[in-house]
């Protein structure tokens, strides 16, 4: 009995150290963001607890930076991306799971092939196509949002996730619906979709996180500051406040609050392990 407790002690020590290392960069950022102008943020030894505690940096950065605007832009982009992913993945997953048709195999492998194509390698032509379709913010804001969303409107992971979900629905469900006089669209919309709600939730949550954190694509296509999403806006803080680390720190922490709340509310989806590798964040 004593041996087991001793072993657990080691486990706790290691896990506490790793947990602290995981959050320490944020702790230090929070600490810096709460230090007033009379406190040297480069002081040796470093002070974790601010001696000149103040909210002034948060107020200052809030006045100068349109966080609400960035937040709304991020919500529009992430929201649009999630809705399109749910609809398109479910629609494509359904026939791949439940129907027989010519070209099914080719379709299957074509979708599978897209897994192997990293966005980073094709981003240049994707940009040129987006320009050609006039889906950029220099045309108008709506076009800009569509351009931010469309390259990520559907992907192979989502389609395969939904296909897998439909495979698990008993066939009798469809038969009963047909007997009741449903057409194919009603079978899909009214009978099958409610059956795969858990998978839709998983897809929504992971798509949301992925889209919310996306940095490369918006930093390529966006030209107007009023269209910035949170990651682009936060990166921009570095240029705006060059070496004012109190403001940069306050802005970074502010921008993290929404996703932190989302994560804490949805944490079981992330850490239960049931949805392992659903979508790589």
């Amino acid at each position: 009995m004593k041996g087991i407790k001793f072993k657990n002690l080691y486990a706790h020590i290691i896990l506490i150290i790793v947990s602290l290392l995981s959050i320490f960069p944020f702790i230090w950022l929070i600490s810096t963001s709460l230090k007033g102008s009379s406190e040297n943020i480069f002081a040796y030894p470093p002070e974790i607890i601010p001696t000149d505690f103040t909210w002034a940096n948060y107020i200052g950065v809030w006045d100068k930076v349109d966080f609400i605007g960035y937040f709304v832009n991020s919500m529009i982009v992430a929201g649009g991306t999630v809705i399109l992913n749910l609809i398109l993945s479910a629609m494509a997953g359904y026939p791949l799971a439940r129907m027989e048709f010519r070209g099914k195999k080719i379709t299957f492998f074509a979708v599978l092939a897209t897994i192997m194509i990293p966005f980073q390698a094709i981003m240049l032509p994707v940009y040129l196509i987006t320009l050609k379709l006039h889906l950029v913010d220099s045309v108008n804001n709506l076009a800009g949002f569509i351009g931010l969303i469309m390259p990520f409107a559907v992907n192979a992971f989502g389609i395969f996730l939904m296909r897998q979900a439909f495979l698990g629905v008993p066939k009798e469900m469809e038969e009963a619906a047909i007997v009741d006089g449903c057409n194919v669209w009603q079978v899909f919309w009214k009978v099958l979709l409610p059956m795969v709600k858990p998978s839709l939730a998983v897809l929504a949550i992971f798509t949301f996180i992925g889209s919310w954190g996306e940095f490369l694509w918006p930093s390529i296509v966006l030209t107007k500051e009023s269209m910035y999403t949170l990651p682009v806006g936060v990166n921009n803080l570095q240029g705006m406040f060059s070496s004012n680390w109190r403001f940069i720190a306050a802005g970074s922490i502010l921008s993290t609050i929404p996703i932190l709340i989302f994560f804490l509310c949805m944490q079981r989806y992330f850490i239960s392990g049931e949805n392992e590798g659903a979508v790589k964040g």
């Binding site: 790793v18 960069p25 398109l88 094709i122 194919v184 590798g277």
Partner: protein
């Protein structure tokens, strides 16, 4: 089961996804190869066909070899750490101990936070008179130019990638550890096996497929790093932290050398496709059965 759907129904259901995938995956995929044979440097609106010349320029460019070497170092350092350390943590967490959920939440936190915020947080830790250099000087060493010394910059960036990935892979390992039959551990306990032998003889062999999976997916994501480098070093100093994707970005969107950037993109495509193919064929086969 009877066929209750019309002849065109399957195609209509797939059509919206097909349109998106064709416009934003397949056409750009082939266009990347096409662009790599064009020269945009004289007139961005009128590219000329120059055959393999972009590849020749690329392979004669010392920066290309530097970038490939950096990417290789990225893989060599990040992948083994991300394959082994999260497994170790998962084994610790998988024991019946208190506070498991809290540990999981804290260790997973870096995964969900924006990479831009993470990179800024580390940039602050790495500052010349920052907290890390305080520790370094306390140890009696000279302060380190974490992001300004060509010998350190790449590793400083790699640390961020590792730090941000640990929680993600730990959860993957945890899921896989649940599938190891408990009886095997009980047998070990009866034999009086210690912690190390228990996991070397039971756990590791049992979850080998997951270890392989984590290895390939962490390798693929290490090939694709961008934001860390963009936010922290812009590839510098002296190209010391420049990897493939940042180089493509720089040549395409800053130098507008689209042909050259595309040749580099083709190199990335080929490497990632090889990794992905290994992954699909060997480790995730059951997930993609037709």
């Amino acid at each position: 089961m009877f066929k209750y759907y019309g002849k065109y129904a399957p195609y209509l259901f797939i059509l919206p996804s097909a349109i998106v995938l064709v416009i934003f995956f397949f056409i750009p995929f082939f266009q990347t190869f096409l662009l790599s044979f064009l020269d945009y440097s004289h007139n961005i609106y009128k590219p000329e066909f120059i055959g393999l010349e972009n590849y020749i320029t690329l392979f004669n460019n010392p920066v290309f070899y530097k970038v490939m070497w950096n990417t290789f170092l990225y893989l060599i350092v990040a992948v083994p750490v991300l394959a082994v350390f999260p497994l170790f943590l998962a084994i610790l967490i998988n024991q019946k101990i208190k506070g498991v959920t809290l540990y999981k939440i804290l260790i997973y936190l870096p995964v969900i936070v924006s990479i831009v915020v993470a990179a800024i947080a580390f940039k602050w830790l790495y500052a010349d008179q920052g907290i890390l250099n305080y520790i370094v000087t306390k140890l009696g060493l000279e302060p380190i130019g974490w992001l300004t010394d060509p010998n350190f910059a790449l590793y400083s960036v790699i640390i961020v990638t590792i730090w941000k990935g640990i929680g993600y892979y730990m959860i993957i390992y945890l899921a896989s550890l649940m599938s190891v039959p408990k009886e095997l551990y009980e047998a070990c306990d009866i034999d009086g096996a210690n912690f190390l032998t228990k996991h070397l003889t039971v756990t590791i062999p049992h979850i080998m497929p997951t270890i392989a999976l984590v290895t390939t997916i962490s390798a693929i994501s290490a090939m694709k790093v961008f934001a860390e480098i963009y936010v922290m070093t812009k590839g510098g100093p002296l190209n010391s932290s420049k990897t493939i994707v940042y180089y493509i970005y720089e040549r395409a969107f800053e130098n507008l050398d689209l042909g050259f950037a595309s040749a580099m993109a083709v190199v990335l495509l080929v490497i990632v496709m090889i990794f992905s193919l290994i992954n699909i064929l060997f480790f995730e086969r059951n997930k993609y059965q037709i």
